[in-house]
Amino acid sequence: MGILTLLVFSPVIGILAFLFTRNSVDQQRTHVLALMASFVPLLLSILVFVQFQAGNSLTEQVSWITFQVVERTLILNYELAADGFSVVLILLTTVVSLLAILSARWLIDKDVKCFFILMFILEMGILGVFSADNLILFFVFFEITLIPMFFLIGKWGGTDREEAAFRYIIYNGLGSMLLLLAIAVIFVNAGNTNFSVVAEYFSRGEQEGLQLGIAITLLLAFGVKLPIFPLHSWMVKVHVHAPPALVMIHAGVLLKIGAYGLIKFGVAFFPEAFGKLAPVIAILGLINLLYGAFLAFVQDELRAVLAYSSISHMGLILLGVAALNEAGIQGAIFQAVSHGLISALFFLLVGILLVRTQTTRLERLSGLARLTPLLAGFFLAAALAGFGLPGMSGFVSEFTVFIGIFETMPVVGVIGTLGLIMTVVYFLRAILNMTFGSYRNTFGNLKDLNMDEGLSAATLLLCIIGIGVFPNSIALTIQQTLETILMGIGG
């Protein structure tokens, strides 16, 4: 068994552990067990990363189904592979999952076992999505992520959790339908869904109309996940009403599947079709960027600010994709990773804050810096990362995306800078409202971060700063993937 298979199914250890243990009276033990189990995928993913850096091939293939339809053979294998883009996202997944599971102990207190089982299924699904080497397998894992999310939101969420869960499943179900449609069409045409086979099949440049059709379908399908305006309303609900530990994974990793799919299937398989769609994508990107930013500016709930800021930040990914050049795509990948870390940090902090205040409504929070300077400092640091302060990961992605978009569509770039200004405005408004000003003593004697809260926040912040200071660590990892994608674009 290859290391990728091990990695993808390593969360099963956690699932089994909880299936076969009795409901412990001592919740502490359950939490420790979950934490220990989530170290397994992390260690394996580090191993995968090391293997990848060492240049070892990470491809696994087992023959699965072959069937004859009329006189065509359709081949469906179990095949996993990891390129630079997936390796980075895999690492992101395991790190964020571990911290999410750690942070669950502060807020999740009912049916803890069940919660963790679903979390591990979710993690397995995500790892599968990033390791799959053919579209069908990708789709299977993609669906696996859908179900646990539904229950996790619906059961452990906040006030409006059921509405959030249903909206989630409707939008993502429709998205999946489109994705399945696209995959089926690709399958019957190419006879295989292996990524490289598909890429090669379509690179012959025939069936232009069909290619454009598939590209649009993929854009819509992943547009739900990313999300692209106006398909975003489910995601705002989830951000606000799902438990923060889950949102760490949701905003941190799950939404990145949208970016991953767009770049890895969309741009890489159908470069010409995406070339034609580029102006549309650029405009959608601008809408996301500005619409999200201005809405984030008027929200009075921190989690809603963060939700709209996610929409705004995903606009940058779209702009990078629309640029269709080295810098643009690289920027989009950077933005996916960077936004993953930043939103994970934000929702980790939201969890920490909720334990103390039970609310994230901005008007009720003020002057937190007085009693909880560390918490306030982390919030500020996360905001700085969010609006792309140099030395943090957000800057690298913003800068690279804009370098990219300015080459092909300078006017879009100029309008986009308005979004960069608004990002500062809404982040500072929200964060300073909470941390600065006078403390109104609404919550009594607030305690600052304890050891594990501080350590988990510091871990994420260190990753963010690490990428910001040494961006080449990511750039070199994804370089080859990028070249493969760009070969198709012909740049």
Partner: protein
Amino acid sequence: MKNIGGYIAVLSSVLAFLLAALVFIQLLDTGTALQEWTWLVIGSTQISFGTLLNPLNGLMLILVAFISLCIHIYSIGYMENDKRLTTFFAYLSLFTAAMLGLVLSPNLLQFYMFWELVGLGSFLLIGFYFYKNRAKQAAKKAFIMTRIGDMGLLIGLILIFWQTGSLQFEAIFTAISGGQVDGGMLTLIGILIFIGAIGKSGQFPLHTWLPDAMEGPTPVSALIHAATMVAAGVYLVAVMYPLYMASTTALIVVAVVGGFTAIYAATIGLVQNDIKQVLAYSTISQLGFMMLAMGTLGYTAGVFHLFTHAFFKALLFLAAGAVIHAVHTQNIKRMGGLHHRLKLTSITFAIGALAISGFPLFSGFFSKEEILSAVWADGQYGLWVIALIAAFLTSLYMFRLYFLVFHGESREPIDQVRPIPFMMKLPMVILTVFAVASGFFNTSWFGSFLGDWLLRESPALAETHHRSSVWVMVAATLVSLGGILLAYMIYIKKQMNQEAWKSSMAGTYNLLTRKYYIDEFYDASFVKGAGWLGRMFVYVERYGVGFLVSFFRELVTTLSKSGSKSQTGQTQTYTAVAFLGMVVFVAVYMMKGGF
């Protein structure tokens, strides 16, 4: 030890200063030194990170390190009773480090990165008293206003990258002198980069954050206004000077914005009643002078004024801080007659005021005179007159400030005047020496050391060097003395009623005290506008996107309902559907011959 954090910070800034001095001494012998490492690979382009040393950098390096050291020492005294002293020094050191990094940048991207970090430093320090609402607003405003300017710089930087294929200063200038970039593009880039400088250096119309930044502790104001932050904008223009020299239009823009800001801020400075506000507007005005010089080919003059201004402005703020420390108010109408109680402060402040007013033989005299020469030599006579009036206003409002604070009678009983600790006095005295002496680095009498130094390795900039004429000097002197004399007549001799014009020219007076209503204008237009747009989007979200939500919900429920209705259990229907399906499949097969 109570203030251990402070002493660590002071020690490290001593170290920074010593290292800067060492580097500077080495630089005297060797030429430009460049070190680079790869920072980020974008496709086939490599973006590097490193250090660059040349005469301009070397000068700024030692200047920043020196001023920062003085302010670190001063802060030990000024902040001694603050509970968050350690935090304060951490911010202060971060601020200094960012500025030093900016000065050493060999390429525009690294410059931009440290430029933003300087902004972060100032944001943290302005908002140091985070519990005060005004500090919060001021910090936010500083970050946002400068960010607006930064976007200009960012766009300019990206355009340069695509035009020249590099971000490294030397490569950019080579490409420009090689004629790789066409004139219109150069002008555009020059103006965009200047927008960055406008934001950072508090030039009109992005100046409004600078007076508000006075909410920070006074040593911070000194640092922001003297050697870091605001100086960065002028320094940016100086660094990019080869680009500006290639575009006359961009130079004129720089000159006009600078000249206008110089007189605009000076008029506001005339009527402010907060000691720090007056100094803040004087900084804006002096930065305007520097930009004016830059825009009229007075490269040396601009940098020279940046150099002298660093000393006397730091001195003025530190002295003002000492006053505030002693009397616990910033309102000059409540001060008066402090000369006898704060002798040292009064003397140092007076020297600083003389320097900024351009009193003969003080440092500001030489640098301002050089600016006026540059403007005249460039043939911008209109701007020259404006500069002269601004210089007159400068000495008027500075001595209005000095006389109101230190002379006359105490207007309100200030019960206790706290003694000023040694740690605060020491840097004030050191800076006083430089406020007098720093002008002699570049005079037409003793030799232009600074000018020769700056032009040593860039002969291309030599055409910017102007010789001053005697009559410009005379004019500058007269104007400076005139301002001081007028202030003396009004505020000491009381030969003119200082209050009378408030009623006789109420409109003008209000316009000035309200700072030309620029804040109100921005508030009504941009701030309100952004909020309005946001709320409009809320409606789009609620009804437009909300409609989509219910559409999808209906779609799914209708589909599933019709789906369940079709489970009728009637075999005939099922067979009919199945048959229909087969017909469709066969039809497809016949038409397309497979898939």
